[in-house]
Structures are given as structure tokens and as C-alpha cells.
Symmetry: C2
Subunit: 234 residues, 2 copies
Amino acid sequence: MTQSNETTSYRDIKETVLARIRSGEWQPDSLLPNEQDLAVEFSCTRTTVNRAMRELADEGFLERRRKAGTRVLSAPQRQARFTIPKVRDEVEALGGIYRYALVSSVAERAPDWLCARLALKPDQHVMHVRCMHFNGNTPFQYEDRWIVIDSVPQVVNADFASIGPNEWLIQTVPFTNVELSFLASRADESVAAFLDLPIGEPVFTGERITWLEGQPVTFAKMYFAAGYRMTTQF
Amino acid sequence: MTQSNETTSYRDIKETVLARIRSGEWQPDSLLPNEQDLAVEFSCTRTTVNRAMRELADEGFLERRRKAGTRVLSAPQRQARFTIPKVRDEVEALGGIYRYALVSSVAERAPDWLCARLALKPDQHVMHVRCMHFNGNTPFQYEDRWIVIDSVPQVVNADFASIGPNEWLIQTVPFTNVELSFLASRADESVAAFLDLPIGEPVFTGERITWLEGQPVTFAKMYFAAGYRMTTQF
DNA sequence: AAAAGTTTAAAGTCTACACAAAATGGAAAT
DNA sequence: ATTTCCATTTTGTGTAGACTTTAAACTTTT
């Protein structure tokens, strides 16, 4: 049979299941009928039911365990997906004109705190790149980044005057793991100057560490201009 | 055939594809072989290839279009998934003892800014609930929440002294849409007092709006204690 | 050229069936 | 009473094949 007309598609099943959960017909923690029974109810194959339920589980609505069956999660652990766009895209999405400016780019011994943070040996070197991202002429983000030279030797020849370190890294080295944090920090003298804020002003700050197969690649601090909010809908 | 030994599973395919992307064998924007050809290469069915590629596309590595084929995304739009745990879980995950305390709970006319924010009529009423979440005796989060009485009439009888408004809402009304924002704000007098901070201190702040089928349900501001960071790995 | 229609390649989804893997709950052994 | 073991149930994944939908590419008409 086809999925177009009289048949139940995995989408229909997802909707129906969600509706039953929302209506309270299927209470949190309650055990759902097994796939075979649902397949009969929806008059489709178990394969189709499986896809629907699997996706609902991925999306955080259900918990499934072999032999134990499928339950409604009591606290729908709905995970917000924040797309982490490149700064350029973020500015352009706001309808602005993206502009990039290099502040400084220096090779240096990794500072102690960075060695600790990235598990570097005390004599390893990093490229320290500071730069600004503007929306038109308004400061949008100040970026303070360290790139591990042993992991990315080509970085010593990179021209960060013409391309931002993030864009350069993305097209140069792949990565396997990322840790991303957000926090509220206080603008120190230099952050305040770059973002045109009073010293001590709250600054929405992101920290990003990237690895390639266990090797630390880069650590970046991203300071956002006043009023920035990171938003997602789901 | 089975997925255990000699055969290629959709997981194997995902790994192989990712490895090829990372190694540069499959460049960004390049067109990949179609599912049928990959099925031959991996000696499995197209169904299996389809699942692998579909998941990689969901995860943001590939872009697929019917007839146009599958391409490697140039900027791996990897979306960070932040699980938004309930405060209790978050505190307990830190190894702390969760404690909740109601500050106040009052029914009132919705303030103008809230009417604007939630598209309420000027005469609609809300339950304004303020409360604290502690890690042991250390302030963890101060929550300032408004619940739309027309959307959740039972709220007038809720006993927020014994259960937090978030937990109460989760087990009382379902929701269909959420908007979640994070920003850095400045501690005003009351926030500073509740979180035991100096006035003006940067505070990591979350705002959450929840709807049920287009009906606004609740607006919450969550102020996190000093040093809080929201972290995710991927 | 530009617009409108047609073909066709690729992904999307479904059926029907099979075997695999996990884990629960009970039986057996200690 | 506790541990070990085993049967059984339920989800997980795979095969093989078909039809559907989308949209790119080509063809015809204007």
C-alpha cells in the first residue's frame, strides 16, 4: 500500500501518540502497547511503528527498553537544539552587514591556565588570536582564541587578517569533539573597550573547546555585545 | 543476513562516511554517490544506507535533496543539544541536596510588559509565583514566574509551598511550544538579595515561554547563582 | 530568451519478513 | 535467602522489493 492516502504513516503515528500523551490518555510512566499491537491498531507494519516510536524516543518523549517495553517519560526531557551558527551567519540573519577585524595574532607559550584546561604540556605553543566581529559598525562579538600549534601546524602561516580564525579552522581541520559552555561574565577593561561597554558590565560569554581524536585543537572565548540573547524554539 | 558479524550496519556506514568527510576524501559541497551505489559498495540494502545517511543529515553533516542527491555540508551546522533538566535534577547531578522554597504566590492583573510578551488581553489575570531553588543551603536559582490563569484555571488552587511551579506545571498541563532564551543580566536589588550577590553582579539568566496549542501558558525568568555555566558536549 | 510542460533521477516511505540483542522475571541451584 | 541460569518478550536492525514525492534537467512552446 502507499503512504499517501488511506494508510497510516510514521508521521501520523507520531502525531497520534503525542496527542494521546498530551491528552493524558497515556499517562507518564505508563507502559505503552508493544509495537506489534500498535501495528495492528494503526494497520501498518511493525517497521513503521518502530520508526515512529524510535523518533519519539530520540526526541525525548519516550523511553524504550528491550523486553521492558516503551514508557512515557514523566519529565519530557525535551532537549533544546541550539544551532550554533557562525558569527557571519548570525549577523546576516539579523539583516546586518558582517564585518571582521583582526586585533592581534601572536605565537606564544601556552599560559598555565590553558595548559591545565587543554591538558597541554607546559612547553607547548599556541597561536593566540584576538579579533572582532561587527554588525555594520556596531561591535557584535569579541573573540579571544588560542590554537594549539602542535595540533594544527599550518596555523603559523594562516592569514587571520583576511579570514576569521573560526572560519579558517572549519575549512582547515576537522574536529571530533566539542565542549561548549555559556555563562555570564563581567566585562574587564579590554572586553569593555572592544564591545564599547562600561567596565564591569554583564557580558554573555561562550567558551568552546574543540578536539580532534582526543588532541586539543582550540580554545575560544566569545564575548557578546550588550543585549545579546541566545534563543531557541521547540 | 545479520548485523553482528560480516555485514555492514548503518552504524558502520555512518562511521565510514564521517571518516571520509573528516579525511577530506569527501570535500564539503561535493556530491556523494547515490544510495543505490553506496548500497553496492557497502554490500547492504539501500534501506540501510538510507538510514545511515538520513541520520547523518539529521545530525547536520549532510544535506539531502530528492533528485539532487546528498552533499557534505560545508559548515557542519552541528546543533548543540542542551538538555534542559529540571532544577532538582541539575542540583542532584552536582551531588547536592535539592531544596525548594516558595517566596510568594499572588494572583494579579497581568502587567503590561507581560501582556505584550504573551499577547494577553489587558484584563487577563496571572498567578505570579516567586521561588528559590537551593543546593543544600546555597542559593542555586531564583525563579520569577507568571502563569496565565485563563489557560490553567487550576493554578489558583495549586499549593506552591509544597511543590515548585515548574514541577507542578509539568505534571498538570502539557505544552506544545517552548521558546527558551539565555542572556546575561545584571542583578537588581531583589535578585541580588535572593542569590546572595552584590547588586549589579552579572547573572546568567534564562527566559522560558510555554504555549499549549497557541495559548500562552507561562513565562518564567530563571536567575542562576554566580559561577553557573550551561555546558554541553558533542 | 522566457515560460510552460515533461521526463527522470534521487531520496522518502511503506510492506513483509527474519533474525539479533537485551533484559526481565521466574526457575533452579546453592 | 541469595545467587545463578534460562526462557521469553520486546525492541533493534537487517534484507528485498515496491511505490511515491520532489525537484533538477531537459523539451517544447510562446
